[in-house]
Amino acid sequence: MGALISVTVLGMIIMFLGIMEKKKLILPFIMLGLLVSLIIDLTEWNRNISYFSDMMVVDNFAVAFNGVLIFTSGLVFMFSGNYYRRVEKPLEEIYSVMLFSLAGALIMTSFSNLVMLFLGIEILSISMYILSGSKKFDLASNEAAMKYFLTGSFATGFLLFGIALIYGSTGSFNLNQIAAYTTQNLHSLPPYFNIGLILIMIGLSFKLAVAPFHFWAPDVYQGSPTLITAFMATVVKIAGIAAFYRLFDICFSNVSGMWVKTLIIFSVATIFAGNLAGLFQTNMKRMLAYSSIAHAGYMIMGIVAINKSSAGALLLYSASYSLVTIAAFGIIILVREFRLNDDIDTFNGLARTNPYMAFGLTFSLLSLTGIPPLAGFAAKYYIFATAMDRGYLWLVILALIGSAISAVYYFRPIIAMYLKESNHPAIPVSNTYRAQLVSITILTLLLGLVPSLLLLI
């Protein structure tokens, strides 16, 4: 809760800093504020406090995911200085909207009431609609915002309708009371409880870009400003999966018969939709969009196999996935700035001109493929092991085949960078940027070698 308050306050202070025209201060202040929020967040470990008559419960699950969310946002902000360095217009509004959407994400990890879930998702989504259109004079950005907004509000409708039906059948918004109701009336649940559950699931799947509700994602990812895409692919996705897990773990695990089969189909469809479409992409951002769809499919596996250990597996997965995704986007930002394009061809010969960047991107892509000993392998291993432990052997086999397919497109940029020639000049890289890349790379390796760091919830 402290983290939520401090992030919100931080967002407001940033707006005021903008009004007072202290531009130089904004970014350092954000980093400092996020660090403070992270520390406040971690102090709540093992305290299990509930707020506002059980509207929110900050348990270890919430603390762990909040930590990952704040850390990930910090990484995005780290690259933002570079991204916006040539932009003259005021940035404080973009930064504070980003912080507000982070606040929404923090609510999504700690809600204990369906209304709070809805509030969190809306705070997050509305901020994201604004952010994806934040490149005001760019047609693609406008298109992205429009598409995101239309499909997103449609999904919100589903979610809200589902929440209403659940309330109608159980008489409560509180997760624990709903769970208690389902245990008592396991065999006499009204049919609209089932409908409500499915509608909520569809609403959440929409937000997470889970197939067959993923069609908005590639256009929105490609059109949005790259920094915002990075934010969307990581923070939004982690918050979504955390909310999904929390809701289904506390509320609906009694009635898993109602949703598990559907979710398995969603998961397989997502893995294959993402990976197969990824094969045909020529644009880096679009490819990563499909990759993020596929990864949502792997994360859904953690919800299918819901149990104690799958929360840890999901946490590890989100952390490792967002770490390398942000590194990849950070490199794309720079390449696009100097080579004016983000097609895969643009990366030709990058290894010759900018070995550090090429190495960083290779590391990220290998980790996304799941090559040991990088973080991506450990994450995939735990998700797969959890799913197999619960008896979903076929799901794991299909997911493994999906991973093999994904190797094909993750290797295209690597091939472009190392094996193709181009006469682009080297991209000038500052030392801080290089240090950022190196530290993310080291973290990726570290998380792969010592995954137990994040398995403790």
Partner: protein
């Protein structure tokens, strides 16, 4: 402890080589690192008791509470393969001239990482650790071929990568499944995986997954289509590592994992699989006869010989399995020798097309002699290292099925045909212009490498017993385990 040190030496060496920049003594440093690893493995050999149980065990819990340990140790089979690895790497580094293009430090760094991962594969005693090293070997191999390879390398390395990663992901699935079926608390130790009482049906699936992974790596026909292209376009050092050592990962996997894990299904699958392999051997031999590109020729020779080793291992006979281990060593030595000679020919005469060459033995007699030795060893003439292994393998197949061994035995004739044919074309006959006026000397580096290989060819050929004895108890252990536990 000594096992962990063996893995660490090349890893640390690789970091050192990579970060010392592009200065001169890179090749020298890489040689020193690989020689230190060799010395340590010799030390391990001296301290080895050969009880059949894994020795020099090093185990630290890796992920707390999950039963996954970083556990490495060596029994006789592992030790022999580690010796092969640490023996061949210095030779490969010595024989192969410094790459002319690209970042030389990265090249030697990758080679040493590859050495570390290979030692890791051969010594791992934990399923997950085994998988991690297995995959870790793929990445440096990919980059060595992709960055320093020849024509068409982009398409070819891509195919190589996709093929092998598909196989290994299936293997990962099988390992995770077994791990989850160990009694609580779970453990991924090989010893625990072996004890999982799987049903026949489950074993069929495990067999398919593991066999596919290993068959792609070896490769066994029809999973071989990546191999001739990759061997041909890889830089010589890459082909040597691939054929000399990486190929053995697959056969080692069969002996270490497939045979003990799928013991109940062997009765059902042994025969069809052996027919498949033996047919593949004949097919590869026939193709080898028709090849004139020397590297492609060596690639097919390697397919044929590796197939025979696998078929022998599948016969589940004590002496045949010992022969398989011995033949892995001999094959590694011979194929590396062949690739070194091909590389020397290609650099000196700017061609590896057998039809364009000839008479090299008369202008460069030393090379002719070395080629002759390697040729005799490949044909498995008695007193060369090819003979004892191949004999034991065929004996094992014979005990299993006379017909199969008769067909497999034809490969000896075939190997004589293709080896002598190539030798004739390349080394004898009239000397073409471009051979006559080229540099016809062996450098000191090349001499060192070839002499040490030749010594091993005859040493193993005359005294195969210590090698067979080294593998014996470990093989017996595996076979005893199968007889005790088979339902």
């Amino acid at each position: 402890m000594i096992t962990a040190i063996l893995i660490l030496i090349p890893l640390i060496g690789s970091a050192a080589v990579m970060f010392t920049g592009r200065g001169k003594g890179l090749k020298r440093n890489a040689i020193i690192v690989s020689l230190i690893a060799f010395a340590v493995s010799i030390l391990a050999l001296a301290l080895f008791h050969n009880t059949g149980e894994p020795e020099f065990s090093f185990s630290v819990p890796w992920i707390s509470g999950s039963g996954i340990n970083f556990h490495v140790a060596m029994d006789g089979i592992s030790l022999l393969l580690v010796l092969l690895t640490t023996f061949l790497f210095p030779i490969i580094i010595i024989a192969y001239p410094k790459p002319v293009s690209g970042r030389v430090n990265i090249f030697y760094g990758l080679v040493l990482i590859l050495e570390a991962s290979l030692i890791g594969v051969f010594t791992a005693c934990d399923g997950i650790v085994f998988y991690i090293f297995w995959e870790m070997a793929l990445i440096p191999a990919y980059f060595i071929i992709a960055l320093w390879g020849g024509n068409n390398r982009i398409r070819i390395t891509f195919k190589f990568f996709i093929y092998t990663i598909t196989g290994s992901l299936l293997m990962l699935g099988a390992i995770i499944w077994l791990y989850l079926h160990t009694p609580n608390p779970h453990s991924a130790e090989f010893s625990a995986l072996y004890k999982v009482a799987t049903t026949r049906n489950a074993q069929l699936w495990i067999f398919s997954a593991l066999f596919l992974a290993f068959a792609i790596k070896i490769p066994i026909i029809p999973f071989h289509t990546w191999q001739p292209d990759t061997y041909t376009s890889a830089p010589p050092a890459g082909s040597m590592i691939l054929a000399g050592i990486m190929l053995k990962m697959g056969i080692y996997g069969i002996i270490r994992l497939l045979i003990p894990l799928c013991r109940d299904t062997f009765g059902l699958l042994q025969y069809p699989v052996m027919i498949l392999i033996v047919a593949g051997i004949v097919y590869a031999s026939v193709i080898a006869v028709t090849q004139s590109d020397l590297k492609r020729f060596a690639a097919w020779v390697s397919v044929a010989h590796a197939g025979l080793i696998t078929a022998g291992a599948f016969s589940l006979d004590q002496s045949a399995l010992q022969g398989a281990v011995l033949q892995m060593i001999s094959h590694g030595i011979n194929i590396v020798g062949l690739f070194i000679i091909i590389d020397i020919i290609e650099t000196a005469y700017k061609s590896r097309e057998a039809n364009e060459l000839g008479g090299i033995a008369s202008v460069n007699p030393k090379l002719g002699i070395f080629f002759m030795m390697i040729m005799l060893a490949t044909v498995a003439i008695p007193l060369t290292n090819g003979f004892p292994g191949e004999f034991l393998l065929l004996l094992g197949i014979f005990k299993y099925s006379v017909w199969l061994s008769a067909v497999a035995g034809t490969t000896i004739i075939f190997s004589a045909v293709y080896m002598f044919k190539i030798y004739q074309k390349v080394m004898l006959g009239p000397v073409p212009e471009k051979v006559k006026f080229s540099e016809n000397k062996l450098s000191g580096f090349e001499m060192t490498a070839l002499v040490s290989l030749a010594v091993m060819v005859f040493f193993i050929g005359c005294f195969p017993k210590p090698f067979l004895d080294l593998a014996g108890p470990a093989v017996k252990n595996i076979l005893d385990f199968i007889t005790v536990t088979t339902n």
